[in-house]
Subunit: 137 residues, 2 copies
Amino acid sequence: MSDLLERLRGRGWRMTAQRRVVAEVLDGEHVHLTADEVHARATLRLPEISRATVYNTLGELVSLGEVLEVATDRRAKRYDPNAHRPHQHLVCAQCGAIRDVHPSGNPLADLPDSERFGFTVSDVEVTYRGICPACAG
Amino acid sequence: MSDLLERLRGRGWRMTAQRRVVAEVLDGEHVHLTADEVHARATLRLPEISRATVYNTLGELVSLGEVLEVATDRRAKRYDPNAHRPHQHLVCAQCGAIRDVHPSGNPLADLPDSERFGFTVSDVEVTYRGICPACAG
DNA sequence: ACTTGACTTAGACAAAGTCCATCGTAGGAT
DNA sequence: ATCCTACGATGGACTTTGTCTAAGTCAAGT
């Protein structure tokens, strides 16, 4: 799926070997990688790529709306390449595994104006927590 | 409200000056403080209290279910003394301010069995994001 | 092919939190 | 009231995750 690369090129993204590799890593595996995991995988293809570049590129992809940042705790942020279809996350409290889920309903609509305290609310993030089948034994 | 201190003592918590001060700081202000903010306030009453002790005590309070940890991004975790009444959070994307909110509806019910992948789902955390009035100018 | 400004790099730096060896003390035992 | 001792506190080193900077490199338009 080099749709991603095409879209980026179409937006005037200057294409470099480093950016291509980072985009391909994210596009290739639909799992939720940390920045360091992206760096590790990128290094396999482009051994000299730097950490800073991986962070910069991930940040750009997030700004462009091509990738979502998922912060479930104070550990490393994870990057979710499934940005085009809205979804929420189901996290195993024991092993940390993450699955994309698609709940019914619109949680934004559940927050009445009287509970918005003057905020301009633009987004809602729902994290379900539980025990995955593997951990439940 | 030294209900908290009473409860802790009743549970066999060994009472020290440091723990009392941390518990009082949390119990006194129903805002969402970071560990460093708790430390700063505790230091006013007990100047020699260490950071490690504040971290340890906060961790114990969380384990005991008296305080909730709120990790909204990769900034510092915040500690929420309002653990007895279920609620969700509204976060300012700019300054990080947090408000408790009470949405209508039950998000747990919005996750159909077909989207649970065999997980035993026990909890859901909803974070609304936006810009607070102060940051909006 | 040249030029230029955007991109990359290594490493220093920073924020938040954890770990550890050692010292101190709360609270039961005497 | 004093003593004991296991539990708690301390400060500093360390770790993890991420940001910043100055200097070098290169993609792409001309």
